[in-house]
Structures are given as structure tokens and as C-alpha cells.
């Protein structure tokens, strides 16, 4: 556990937009990213109106404080955005806003991926494709080598 920024702590303690929507609703797009074995799973859902504007967003996250804060922030940002605007959200924006330290960057990557997965899921539905939302392996799920400053040499 690292020393978290104020912003992460605030969003972790009082997360916004926690919840689940009906994944079968054609207006809902669902992205689930991560793997439990790696310690992070993010589920992010968007409710899109007929104008392609995101009316609502919800998340549930299994993961560290930064992961929870990143997903909460992502849902906040999504609300009111068009899908194109939503696609433009990048992990660096989230990381900067939350002042994530380098070792926590992957949490923002995860959130970006979850946004994209949710939009993709929504678009598939729109196009009549029927494959279900499934767990995506996150891009960042590689063993990091740089263990300088790592706590595993605990005691």
C-alpha cells in the first residue's frame, strides 16, 4: 500500500456511481477488464441515449485504492459525453488528475480499457452483434521488473 494522494483517498472513501445496470438493456454497454489473479477487475457500464450521449455510468471494482478511484473518476467523466468524446479519454488524463505514482499507472490504463470495452459492447449491441461482454486481459498485466522500492522484501 502506498501513500495515496488526497484525490484518490476522497474518491476511494466516497466513491461515486457505484452500481450495476442491466447488462441486457440495449442502451447499456458493459466493459469488464482485468483478472482476479492479477488483483484487479473493473466493471464499467454506460447508459447511452439515442443521441449517443452517455446519460449515466456505473462501476464496480475489485482492486486497490487507485483502481477504485480511477474507475469512479472515469464514470464521472463519462456522464454527459458523446461516445466519441468518451473514446478520447486517455489513461494519462486520469493518472494526472489522481496524481497516481508510476507504480499505479496501470490502474488508469485499466480504466481507459474499461471505457473502451464498454463503448465497444454498446456498439456491438447497436450493430446487432450478440456476443456477450467478457473479461478482457488488461494491457498492463505483465510482471513488472523494476522492483526498486518494492515492499516484497518485507521483513
Amino acid at each position: 500500500m502506498l501513500q495515496y494522494s488526497e484525490k484518490v483517498l476522497e474518491l476511494f472513501t466516497n466513491p461515486k456511481n457505484v452500481g450495476t445496470m442491466d447488462g441486457d438493456d440495449p442502451h447499456v454497454g458493459t466493459g469488464v477488464i482485468g483478472s482476479p489473479e492479477c488483483g484487479d477487475v473493473m466493471q464499467l457500464q454506460i447508459l447511452v441515449d439515442d443521441q449517443g450521449v452517455i446519460q449515466d455510468a456505473k462501476f464496480k471494482t475489485f482492486g486497490c485504492g487507485s483502481a477504485i478511484a480511477s474507475s469512479s473518476l472515469a464514470t464521472e467523466w463519462l456522464k454527459g459525453k458523446t461516445l466519441d468524446e468518451a473514446m478520447a479519454i486517455q489513461n494519462v488524463h486520469l493518472a494526472e488528475e489522481l496524481e497516481l505514482p508510476p507504480v499505479k499507472k496501470h490502474c488508469s490504463v485499466l480504466a481507459e480499457d474499461a471505457i473502451k470495452a464498454a463503448i465497444e459492447d454498446f456498439q456491438k449491441k447497436l450493430e446487432g452483434r450478440t456476443d456477450k461482454a467478457e473479461l478482457h486481459s488488461p494491457r498492463c498485466c505483465e510482471k513488472l521488473n523494476d522492483c526498486e522500492g518494492c515492499g516484497s522484501h518485507g521483513e
Binding site: 500500500m1 502506498l2 495515496y4 483517498l9 476511494f12 466513491p15 457505484v18 450495476t20 469488464v32 482476479p36 489473479e37 492479477c38 488483483g39 484487479d40 477487475v41 473493473m42 466493471q43 464496480k60 471494482t61 475489485f62 482492486g63 486497490c64 485504492g65 487507485s66 483502481a67 477504485i68 507504480v103 499505479k104 499507472k105 496501470h106 490502474c107 498485466c141 505483465e142 510482471k143 513488472l144 522492483c147 518494492c150 515492499g151 516484497s152 522484501h153 518485507g154 521483513e155
Partner: protein, 411 residues
Amino acid sequence: MKLPIYMDYNATTPVDPRVFEAMKPWFCEDFGNAASRSHVFGWKAETAVAESRETIANLLGASPQEIVFTSGATESDNLAIKGICEMYAPDGGHIITCMTEHKAVLDTCKYLETKGYEVTYLKPDTEGRVSAQQVADEIREDTVLVTLMLANNETGAVHPIAEIGKVVREYRARLHSHLFFHTDATQGISKIPFNVNEMAVDLLSFSSHKMYGPKGIGALYVRRRDPRVRLAIQTHGGGHERNMRSGTLNTPSIVGFAKACELAAAEMENNVAKLRHLRDHLEQGILQNVDYVKRNGHKTERLCNTANLSFGYIEGESLMLKLRDIAVSSGSACTSASLEPSFVLRAMDVPDILAHSSLRFSLGCYNDLAEIDYVVEKVATAVRELRELSPLYDMALRDNTTGDTDWAQAD
């Protein structure tokens, strides 16, 4: 109640104020070098070191000449393992250890593998223990060292050291070989009564800062009789410590270490009873208030102060963040950037997801019941809140998979 509450005594302990009192005069007043043979400043230090050595030996049922001072258990482990291997099997040999040892043992063994030694890493059972039979099955003619810890730092699981010691003795006699038994007793030494002869160990490592003594000082017990154990030198220099470890002796810390050993000997029984009571109270309290909790480590053959629990469907680091005013540690390694969960839990076949969900509570003699109640309450709330956030919890309930794990039950 003072916050934050420290429940990470397996990481390190505060120095007992009585230990600190004992150390105090040796910094500024009686500061001599124990190796200075030509004046009273040196003699005083030498006498203090000799008396300390005796106190420390007494705790183990050893003799003072069998105690070699080191900078801590890491150095002791290195000295024991490399010292034996290089002395008795300079061209390579076989070592038996366990997958859940401390890194000081494992990394040393891995180093020796690069030097032509063969290492057998025993796999513990799902409760974290190895059996004497497992050791017996692996001993070969060229086995030079069995190194197995007394108690595991993460789970508290205690190995059957006396039985293993007996096995090693038998094989040594039968094979007429140089075969030695080392135990890293760092976590156990102040919580489990220990006699090096009854346990039949030849070398034993431990560290002062895990038992209310100062950091930076430890010892290696090295048997002098039946058999006399010799070690290849690891730290060359003036030949202090019967040439087994050179460097100016750290008098204040040695005096403090000895005081900690004296107190451990005198108070162990009471402390153990108290710690077990508190730990059980904590564990039962949590199990009564939280479902889907798994206990890691053996239920009874376990350090009296340690409870390692996995909380299903939530991640350990976020749980610790909820418990910010309680100092515990997590089986989720490193930072969550490293995706490696605890190798100890993994070796016990704890699924990675449960390893990521684990917390280690390790109690100490400064904890009390009020703190335990506070922690139980806090943990229950935190788990509830995090499960509300957890997609995995939803999925498990939906898919009805909660029954796949063998969750612990309150007694």
C-alpha cells in the same frame, strides 16, 4: 485508545523500554571496543558482551561459545547456509529447504544453485507445514544441509522441528556423512520454548528486533559438540567471534538483545497465553461478523500471535486502505503493480485471488482487548463496504460459486 494500532509485530517490534534502559549507558559512557585488550574501557565492553552471550545462550539451552553475533537473521541465514556448504561440500552438494522459507534462506539457496549445488524445495501442505517424512524422503548421500524455519512469518505455521531434527540425526549417523540441520527461528524464538538439544538443531538463526530488542543485531547458534560444526568464513577481518564473523562488536545492541532474551525467557509463558487469547478473540470476532473468510496457515500448529486471513471477493490493498488506522500487512506483494501474490500462500495452493485478498494480523504484547474489538468492528465494516463495490462478489452470488472455497467457520 491510541491510533494507529500496530498489529504488524512479525515485521518488527518496538524496543521494550526495559531493553532500552539496559542499552543506554553503552552509547556515551561505557563505549569501549570489546576488542581493546589494553584498558578498562575495552574490558568493560568485553565483560558486557560475555555476560550477554551467556544470557542469550541460556534462552536456547546453548553454551555461550556457541553464539555468534551477527547484524540480524538475514546475515545469520547467509552465514549458516553458505558457511556449511562451502565448508563441507566445497564442490557442490544437496540442500533441502521449503518453498515458504524467508527470502534470506531462499535467495541464498538460489545463489548456491548457480554455484553447482542442488536444492530441493519441499512443498508444504495446504496449511503451510512440511512433515519429517517429507524430509526423510529427500535426504541423499550428498545432502549437506536441511534448512527449515521454525515458524513462518506470513502464516505463523510451525514446522515439526524436533521430529525433523531427529530424522537428520538418524541419517547423519546412518550415512556417516556431513549433514546438518539449520533452522531460521526468527519468528518463533520468543513465542515457542526452544532448546537446541531437544530440537536437535545444529544451527539456528534469530534476530533481536522481532522480540522487543533493537534492530541490527542477531545471532547464529553454531553447535560445538555432537557434532562440532565448522563454517566457512563469510565476513573476513580481524577474526572476531571465533573467526566466524569479524567486525567490531556492537555492545549496546548486544546488551539490548540479551535483555530482550532475558525478558523473553521470564515472560514467555504469560505473553504466549495473552497473545493467543487476543489472537483467538480477533479471529473469532472476524469470523462471527464476516462471511467468506479463509484462514491461511495451520489452525493450531501456528504462532500464538499470527492470523492470516483472506477475505473473499475483495482485494487486500484496498482493505488495508479502509483500515488505515490499523497497521497490518498484506499477502498481496509489493505494490499492486507487481502482479505477484505472496509466494508463501501460493506454495500452499491458496488461489491467487485469495492471496490478493489476504491480510496478516500479527499481534504483540502491547495490544489489548479494546484494540481487538475496535479492529473486528472496523474489518467487518470495511469488508462490507468493499464487497458492495466488488464485481467479483456480485458474480459469485449470481453464479452461485461461493461454495467452491473451504471458508473458515467460527468455533
